[in-house]
């Protein structure tokens, strides 16, 4: 187990390096002179030259990439162009609201998804099964911002309402699996089979779905926060993108990626702990 955890932690390093490179690469994608683009058409040549210097745009790209790494290692994500504050401080002020939103959404949607999935699996072919699978298909196809808009309209802008999300449901397969059949054969009551044996196995796909879906959830947060005026990272992303505040955008992208990577780390470790088939030496 210790070896597995260590290896999994070490894998984070190349991952983080890659993410920093991609985030840095965003700046290279800007067509033309980023400083001129950022300041708009009314900027004077001196203003542009000043910004070029403060962004270090006159150095070759590998020097800037090295500098960017060095900066990040010291917890410095640069300064926002329009808010005249360090990017890390701006993000720190917003991150709590988004995590709160994401955790509530994750808990609620997992609870609803798992309950519906279990009920649908026990009563296969019943109305509950058909309706919940139909709802699941619709839920997957529904743009999260549209649902948000409809809810916002229906709730007349109730603040603090958690965003809707979609969650995969455990499949009936877990109920038919050998472990469950054995448990039935042992004469255990159905509720016990469902909770102790089937659910444990059904938990595995749910866990990996949580890991994979968390990224979609964070992305959905951008849209939902805008609709519900929730003061988190999503709203910050929106204003940063509107103003083309590049250092802030880079900081946000990197923060989202790191949160996502950490969530996946936790999911992987939990997975190893729950899966009865995995015994990691």
């Amino acid at each position: 187990m210790v070896a597995y955890v260590t290896r999994r932690l070490l894998l984070l390093i190349p991952m983080a390096i890659g993410m920093v490179v991609v985030t840095f690469g965003l700046l290279l994608l800007v067509p033309g002179d980023p400083a001129a683009v950022l300041l708009g058409p009314e900027a004077s040549p001196e203003m542009i030259q000043n910004l070029r210097q403060s962004l270090g745009l006159d150095d070759p790209w590998y020097v800037r990439l090295g500098g960017y790494f060095w900066q990040l290692l010291h917890g410095d994500m640069g300064r926002s162009i329009f808010q005249s504050a360090p990017v890390s401080e701006i993000i720190a002020g917003r991150i709590g609201a988004t995590i709160e939103l994401a955790v509530v959404a994750l808990l609620l949607s997992t609870l609803i998804g798992v309950t519906l999935g279990v009920v649908a699996a026990i009563r296969q072919g019943s109305i509950v099964d058909t309706v919940s699978m139909l709802l699941a298909q619709l839920g997957v196809s529904m743009p999260v911002y549209w649902l948000g808009v409809l809810l916002a309209g229906a709730l007349a802008g109730t603040p603090g309402w958690p965003p809707p999300s979609r969650r995969g449901a455990p499949r009936p397969a877990a109920l038919r699996a050998a472990a469950s059949r054995t448990a039935y054969a042992k004469g255990l009551r159905r509720n016990r089979v469902v909770v102790r044996h089937a659910l444990r196995n059904a938990l595995l796909p749910v866990l990996s779905v949580i890991g994979l879906r968390f990224g979609a959830l964070l992305g959905g947060a951008v849209l939902v926060e805008m609709i519900f005026a929730w003061p988190g990272l999503g709203q910050l992303t929106f204003s940063a993108v509107s103003q083309r505040d590049l250092p802030l955008i880079q900081g946000i992208v990197l923060t989202f990626a790191l949160i996502f990577a950490l969530v996946n780390l936790v999911v992987d470790l939990l997975y190893a702990a729950v899966d009865p088939r995995i015994r990691l030496g």
Binding site: P14, P31, S141, P143, W146, T237, S242, I249
Partner: protein, 280 residues
């Protein structure tokens, strides 16, 4: 009369019909449109469906039917551009990683992991913010967040196929690696790729309309679905019809591609390999 097997798959039939209808509407939009897409009529704002306006009108009295079918052209073009390019890039990466293995596999898969590690909407927004709006730029942003799925699925398929007897036989007969890759392995990965592409079109439509919903898509007066929906939301309390019809258009489109993808999976990918990377 016996019904052919594919036609007995409800997902495939319903999804196929939705997609077929949408594509025809988009292709024949100039013929089918009853009004100009950007002709305001301030006396006729927020009207409900009628013989004159099949789907009613928007906040400026513009005909919604005409705007939505022209919007289909934009959404579907961006979908097709981004899905084909993403599939090409991802398939190439997946084939190389799966077939050559070793450090090539290691390197390519770490790069794939890095791109998978960014929440799709956030990375798309950042790329569009940097590049500016436009069909090509939005497609590029969608490609950046979707090519990874094809890479993962094609790699997994290639790993299995590489060890098959017929591939080993081809190798023993002295076939070159391009021949093995493109003539022996690639054709057998097409099933999962087609399934992913169908699901990917739905994803592309969702991302594109999210971008225009936020105001970072193609600029007005382009009649994008997201933009129409975003106008609808401003008037949702008093005039909910606009946001309902534009949101439903997006949802039915995505549902169509998802159903079609699910149906195709039953037929083309019985081992469900495309599930490996179907989650984002």
């Amino acid at each position: 009369m016996r019904i052919p097997k594919p036609l007995r798959n409800p997902s495939l039939v319903v999804g196929g019909l939705i997609v077929l209808t949408l594509v025809s509407l988009a292709v024949f939009a100039p013929v089918l449109a009853t009004h100009s897409v950007d002709l305001p009529d301030m006396r006729n704002r927020f009207s409900y469906p009628s013989a004159e306006h099949l789907l009613g009108t928007d906040n400026l009295g513009r005909d919604l039917w005409s705007r939505l079918i022209y919007g289909a052209r934009i959404s579907l073009s961006i979908g097709v551009i981004s899905v084909t390019t993403a599939a090409l890039i991802g398939t190439t990466v997946g084939l190389a990683a799966g077939y050559f293995g070793g450090w090539i596999d290691m390197l390519l898969m770490r790069i794939t992991d890095v791109f998978l590690g960014f929440p799709a909407v956030v990375l798309t927004l950042a790329i569009v913010a940097v590049l500016g709006p436009g069909i090509v730029n939005i497609s590029a942003a969608i490609i950046a967040v979707t090519w990874t799925e094809y890479a993962r699925v094609v790699r997994a398929t290639t790993l299995v196929l590489r060890e098959q007897n017929y591939v080993q036989a081809a190798r023993a007969l002295g076939a070159s690696w391009p021949r093995i890759l493109f003539r022996e392995i690639l054709p057998n990965t097409l099933g999962p790729i087609v399934v992913l592409a169908s699901l990917g079109l739905g994803t592309a439509v969702i991302i594109e309309s999210a971008m225009s919903f936020l105001g970072f898509g193609l600029p007005p007066p382009t009649p994008t679905w997201g933009w129409t929906l975003s106008f609808g939301t401003r008037f949702i309390r008093d005039e909910p019809w606009l946001s309902i019809i534009s949101g439903a258009t997006i949802m039915i489109t995505v549902l169509g591609f998802n159903l079609l993808g699910d149906g195709l999976r039953d037929i083309l990918d019985p081992r469900q390999l495309s599930r490996v990377g179907a989650n984002k």
